[in-house]
């Protein structure tokens, strides 16, 4: 009985100590967790600083895309007379002797359902861009700027869009009006049946 009483008396002190210790522990844990949490989940920076600055030389040598306004067109020039022999040598095997025969991608013609440069290419600059980056299929990127201007002139002339004597360069090419231009519309086909 005495033993139990003494034990009972000591108990509140012990509980208070525990309570304080517990509270301190909680505060510490909370504080630590908040700090820890902040360390773990920092807001991402706007910039990480990865990568290296591109040099103007790199940009100039890699940025080969031509825009409809002529942005990106290189110096040089060419007409049908320059383009015709190049076409015969490097293009005719796939596109046909006059560009109408195929077997692959017919390029010339404005009748029927065949989609050609004459009836389905809305911008003349695209002809230059595509030939320069992707043609001829077995050796893309090997034609000189003059050859590409010449081939573009040859194909536009064969499609009766420019005269055989027109010389194309960075100034004249963007001004060529293509027959298909006004038929293209940007379309987002959200469609629901009635």
């Amino acid at each position: 009985m005495r033993y139990r009483k003494a034990a009972y008396r000591r108990a509140p002190i012990s509980r208070l100590t525990l309570l304080i210790a517990g509270l301190l522990g909680c505060v510490f844990c909370l504080a630590w967790n908040v700090l820890h949490d902040r360390r773990q989940h920092e807001q991402p920076p706007d910039r990480f600083g990865f990568g290296r600055p591109a040099t103007q030389h790199e940009i100039d040598s890699e940025a080969i895309a031509i825009a409809p306004d002529g942005l990106g067109l290189p110096p040089g020039q060419g007409d049908s007379a320059i383009g015709a022999p190049v076409y015969k040598l490097k293009c005719a095997v796939c596109h046909g002797a006059t560009g109408r025969e195929g077997p692959f991608q017919k390029l010339v013609g404005d009748t029927g359902k065949t989609k050609t440069i004459g009836n389905y290419w809305p911008y003349a600059t695209t002809v230059f861009d595509y030939i320069r980056r992707a043609m001829p299929l077995n050796a893309p990127g090997t034609l000189s700027a003059d050859e590409v201007y010449g081939l573009t002139a040859y194909l536009l002339s064969a499609n009766r869009i420019i005269s055989p004597k027109t010389v194309l360069d960075a100034r004249t090419l963007p001004s060529v009006e293509m027959p298909a231009k006004n038929y293209f519309i940007a379309h987002d086909s959200i469609w629901k049946p009635q």
């Binding site: 990568g51 600055p53 591109a54 940025a63 695209t126 519309i185 086909s189």
Partner: protein, 413 residues
């Protein structure tokens, strides 16, 4: 003494027969025996595997010699065997392929991505740089917008729409790089250029770049396959496959589209009024039953109709099934996960009474878009069918259980 090559090619030919019989086993009674008993392949199991130890652990796993699943390659593309896949992920080596200048070999230590144009800080990123940005993985489908064939009854799902596949892609959000280089407020487009022999380019509205566009370097847990753009590609969830430029080497930020060949004379289609529709980015909702399909023959009784549905505009909300040639429609089960812009697996239990009929599926996405019939598409667009065809596909089942694709009518009857 047989050489390994002899043995492999011999097994491959034997397994062609094996495939039919194993399919029968896997599908239970729903498929009738279409082939011969499996004597040829059986003979190749030269020992009882419970009495002879098999090969030890290997450096790389391979498919069972009895599995002959393959892409169907043509001059321009390879089509995924949708009818042979389980679940929603396309194995990386069976992901469809469409290249414009072949598959380039790019050394990842020499790879660089240049971002310039209407940016404050033109920057070059190595692959190592790209991988330092916060990584994320997401599952989404990728579909070529030229994904439709429908001219004869002897077509499989692979033939009809095998130019869609799905992977878990890992990479970084393009918006990380946009912030890094300081894309200027007036920018409205960016040009994405690949490092293949076509140096293929597409113009993309800038908002997609700020939204969910990724530069992906991982596919199904490993590096991208070369056919999918190794070491890094653009990924535009839900948008036509061609815009997801592979082997991406350059991004030029601009305020107008470049009108590249692939967005003018290709990937456009004629409309009814004589105009041509351009920048058709979204892949609209579509579904296809992948079982039972040509060339299978089914038995009367219970058949679990299975298939895939997806939408480039969001989640699949519902797939309806008709087993009476489109007279009545019933909702299929969506076997999760049902993910945003992702192939979703559906099933529908059907008790076939043995009468000839047609079975169809129709996807509805969470924008309310309902997959149309081909007649509805042509009524809207005109008869010059081109890209972005997602018609309801019907399968005709004869009395003998033989299944054929039913080429759809192009005009309303």
């Amino acid at each position: 003494m047989e050489t390994p090559i002899d043995r492999r090619s011999f097994l491959a030919s034997a397994a062609t027969t094996a495939g039919i019989v194993l399919l029968k086993t896997a599908m239970g009674q729903t498929i009738q025996a279409a082939g011969h008993p499996l004597s040829a392949a059986k003979d190749q199991v030269l020992h009882d595997p419970t009495h002879t130890p098999g090969p030890p652990p290997s450096a790389i796993g391979t498919r069972s010699r009895f599995e002959t699943i393959k892409l169907a390659p043509s001059d321009t593309s390879s089509r995924t065997p949708l009818q042979s896949l389980y679940g929603i992920i396309t194995p990386s080596d069976l992901h469809f392929q469409r290249h414009h200048g072949g598959v380039p070999t790019i050394d990842p230590t020499k790879y660089e991505l240049l971002i310039h144009g209407m940016v404050d800080r033109p920057t070059v990123f190595t692959l190592r740089d790209l991988k330092r940005y916060p990584a994320l993985s997401r599952i989404c489908f990728l579909e070529c917008s030229g994904n439709y064939r429908g001219n004869k009854p002897e077509l499989t799902p692979q033939d009809i729409c095998g130019l869609t596949s799905q992977a878990e892609w890992t990479g970084i959000l393009l918006s990380n790089l946009f912030r890094e280089v300081g894309v200027q407020p007036k920018a409205t487009w960016f040009l994405a250029e690949g490092g293949d022999a076509a140096v293929m380019t597409r113009s993309i509205p800038i908002h997609k770049g700020w939204d969910d566009a990724m530069i992906a370097y991982g596919q199904n847990g490993e590096a991208l396959r070369p056919e999918q753009g190794y070491p890094a590609r653009l990924l535009l969830p839900g948008w036509e496959g061609n815009t997801n430029v592979k082997w991406i080497r350059r991004i030029q930020v601009t305020d107008k589209p470049f009108m590249t060949r692939e967005e003018t004379s290709k990937y456009t289609y004629a409309l009814k009024d004589g105009k041509y529709s351009q920048f058709n980015f979204f892949m609209d909702a579509r579904s296809i039953i992948t079982f039972p399909t040509y060339p299978l023959q089914i038995d009367k009784g219970w058949v679990e109709i299975r298939g895939l549905a997806w939408s480039g505009r969001g989640r699949i909300d519902r797939v309806d099934i008709s087993t009476d040639a489109g007279r009545s429609w019933h909702p299929a089960n969506l076997n999760g996960p049902v993910l945003d812009k992702a192939h979703t697996r559906f099933t529908y239990l059907w008790n076939w009474d043995g009468n000839e009929t047609e079975i169809l599926s129709r996807a509805v996405d969470d924008t309310g878009y309902i997959q149309p019939t081909l007649a509805e598409i042509t009524a809207l667009r005109g008869a010059d069918l081109g890209y972005h065809l997602n018609p309801i596909t019907a399968w005709y089942i004869q009395r003998d259980g033989q299944v054929f694709f039913k080429p759809p009518a192009t005009k309303k009857s």
